[in-house]
Amino acid sequence: MVKRTIERLEEVVIKFAGDSGDGMQLTGGQFTNTAALIGNDLGTFPDFPAEIRAPQGTLAGVSGFQLNFGSKEIYTPGDQCDVLVAMNAAALKVNLNFLRKGGTIIVNTAGFDAKNLKLAGYADNPLDNGTLEGYNVIRIDITKLTREATADITELGMKEKDRCKNMFVLGFLYWMFDRPMDHTLQMLQTKFAKNPAVLEANVRALKAGYHYGDTTETFTTRYKVDKAPMAPGEYRNIMGNQALALGLVAAAQKSGLKLFLGSYPITPASDILHELARYKNFGIITFQAEDEIAGICSAIGASFGGNIGVTTTSGPGMALKTEAIGLAVMLEIPLVICNIQRGGPSTGLPTKTEQADLLQALYGRNGECPLPVLAACSPADCFSAVYEAVRIAIHHMTPVIFLSDGYLANGSEPWRFPTAEQLPDIPVRFAEPASDHSVFKPYLRDERLVRPWARPGTKGLEHRIGGLEKEDFTGNISYEPENHEHMVKVREEKVERIADFIPLQTVEGPERGEALVLGWGGTYGAIKAAVTQLQQEGYRIAQAHLRYLKPFPRNLGTLLLSYDKVIVPEINNGQLVKVIRDKFLVPAVGINKIQGVPFTKMELVQRIKEQLG
């Protein structure tokens, strides 16, 4: 047996790519979980085709899953990949330019027959014509080997056996990166408990892949990626939408309130609805409404009823909700509106990510209609950020807009999940009838300018409210000029005072310097990676990432003045930068990318350098 080198790597990016039917998401997910269990830090991002099921073998049908894992802190799913798995010609074509020069390609040679080449639009075979020069190409006839491995399972047809191809690849990669198969074997046991033949086929394919690496003499290098130095604790892997759903459930539990989700399906927000629909035993009610307007309006009804009303949506759905958001602002009831942003405008790029709904969140309603806006910065952060959104909504009796995006929603990362006890309390205080039986005043405010929440069914608090301008204190309809101005100012001030109840903005890096890179939302990881590298290169720059977009943390203005330059990278055409310039009159500049995909570290490094001159 040939002795093989084992190379130690700090960080590896693998992209699994194949036809939609090839099971790449599952493969990637399994590799991810195994890496996590071993103790690597990681970040993942799936790359679904826009069509439900595009014809097999076509470019439109390619489905991918990217995983970045390492023995150091990982901030993103990775810029370029080190290893590309290409199950067919189309998968190679779509992904080749994301592979770094010198990287490894594992190809299923069976996916490069004449038909596949034609569907992928290759005139001749890239495996043979020099296209892949400079890469380390590992050719395996995965189809054939899988068939062989499962040859004597007579219960299954060829088609079913071929479906195990992905396990072969996974086995091979487990071998290559020296990972145990246990986790996946366990998963297969559970998944196919009722179907022993399929189970057997999958297990055989997995092991065949592993042993193929082990026994075939061609492959001389194996890699080892050690544990990452992560904060001690118990971890799980989590995707953004899942974290968001759990954050809502946790908030419901901790507040002791029922949570009602009124929602209408839309990519990439639907999974929150799907996820929450499973938690009926947590008292979570999900209501698939007839449209987005009914989604938010039913949530408003639920909030008026003394529950946590939530609605989830994306771009076009958000546009439809703006009238009702105005009502919620007038009613001053707790409500959480989650916008999982996607590429716009209009129907836009439904399956791609973007951050272009910030100005809509801040200003996209008729009239002066202020409300708090929060954004999550990583998949796992969706949990705590939405939890905070619920807390603010209840504590300050206000609708809150919570922004996530397609990248966070479908991306995943390790999460040191909290225990229920560690979560901050969400105290709820419903109004109670005055002891002197005086008339209830639904708009009598406390020092935070917050009005009482009267739960229908409570004797003595009967009251009527609506979307017309109302008299302060009594809530009666009022057309009085001065009252209107007063109420507009009070509603604004109420939101601004939330700043007294949120943390000051922190920075990562020097307290003053050449530049502050100011971001928000899903760009955190990429900015972090880029700024870290630039700091290592000696630049005196720092990073600040906003969770609170309205109100801003009290110290933001002072903070901005401590740097020579403020640079604002965004996955849009420049939105936060507008607000910063207006509010603080600093000549902040944007770095913008509007391609439906996140920043890569390297492009940020380069573009920040350009800004630093």
Binding site: K280, C297, S298, G457, H463
Partner: protein, 344 residues
């Protein structure tokens, strides 16, 4: 219908349902009578004020909650039904009422209405049909007759109107009825039926807008013509009408005929069966059959009623079943998920 338990039997009077707000409808508006009938029946429900919620959209009619001393939400145009659904889903023990207009319910709010009806939340929908947009000062509505000259149609409207009863039946409503502002006794009776029906009750109330569409329903409300142009539906009773109760509706195949009781006996007449969807559908179009020769009366009363699980009942049952199956909620278990690892 909402089941409610209270400590003590509640003794309320209509006056207890008046608020401190000035009622601001135009003097003479039909809304006043409807308000009065609602205030009259509410004490008869035997539930305390705090268990009642009135939800409305936008329109003259939708100002209703401000004038009723219960919980109330004056929503946005067309969306009262959707708001009420969320409220009822989470608070099934409350008695939820929607007050809406023909524009609010059938124009901008048409979709939420039909979806509410099919889902069958136990909510009482009172649609004040004045065949006009009152609040915005007189445009025609989806129930206005073709040719109506109104603010936005100086040369006459081109729209074929909805038949609200037929639409509600088409949307699988479980309770469909019609009444009018000018017949207090009947209106009260219908309001009580709405309350007692477990499921969405759709009540069309013909309401005179004396400013923008005065007299639209004179034929049915005025003494001189009412008897000849209305037929009051009663379960199990034959369809008799006319000045002297001298006419009736008979079915010739599926085609309703107006017959004289001098030619036919009462036994020949169509007998109202409020549980028969097919009959209800036929009756919903009775008045439309008017042609030059024969005048068909407009039916009032309950066209159709059936029992069907309400949405909130089904929801509650499902939640209980699932909870039983999955056990008590364990947040820590949920947060852990299925696979974890420990870094130390």
């Amino acid at each position: 219908m909402a089941e409610v338990t209270t400590e003590q039997p509640v003794k309320l009077t209509p006056k207890d349902f008046q608020t401190d707000q000035d009622v601001r409808w135009c003097p003479g508006c039909g809304d006043y009578s409807i308000l009065k009938q609602v205030h009259t029946i509410l004490p008869q429900l035997g539930i305390p004020r705090e268990q009642l919620v009135f939800v409305s959209g936008i329109g003259c009619s939708s100002r209703f909650p401000y004038y009723t001393e219960t919980y109330g939400l004056h929503g946005i145009h067309g969306r009262a039904t959707a708001i009420a659904a969320g409220l009822k889903a989470t608070r099934p023990e409350l008695s939820v009422w929607v007050v809406t207009g023909d524009g609010d319910a059938l124009s901008i709010g048409g979709n939420h209405l039909i979806h509410l009806l099919r889902r069958n939340f136990d909510i009482n929908v009172l649609m004040f049909n004045n065949e006009i947009y009152g609040l915005t000062k007189g445009q025609y509505s989806p129930t206005s007759p073709e040719g109506m000259v109104a603010k936005s149609t100086p040369y006459g409207s081109l729209d074929h109107p909805f038949n609200p009863i037929a639409l509600a039946l088409g949307a699988d409503a479980t309770f469909v009825a019609r009444s009018m502002d000018r017949d207090p006794a009947h209106l009260q009776q219908m309001l009580l039926r709405c309350y007692h029906h477990p499921g969405t009750s759709f009540l069309e109330i013909l309401q005179n807008c004396n400013i923008y569409n005065d007299g639209a329903f004179e034929l049915f409300t005025e003494k001189a013509t009412k008897k000849a142009h209305t037929v009051f539906l009663e379960h199990g009773k034959p369809l008799v009408f006319g000045e002297q109760q001298e006419k009736g509706i008979r079915l010739d195949g599926f085609t309703p005929q107006v017959v004289s009781l001098s030619d036919y006996s009462v036994d020949d007449l169509m007998v109202h069966d409020e549980n028969d969807i097919n009959k209800a559908m036929i009756l919903s179009r009775l008045f439309e059959m008017n042609n030059g020769t024969v005048t068909y009366p407009k039916p009032f009363g309950v066209f159709y009623v059936r029992k069907r699980t309400t949405y909130e009942q089904a929801l509650q049952k499902q939640m209980e079943q699932i909870s039983e199956k999955l056990g008590a909620p364990d947040l820590n278990k949920l947060l852990r998920g299925r696979e974890t690892w420990i870094v130390d």
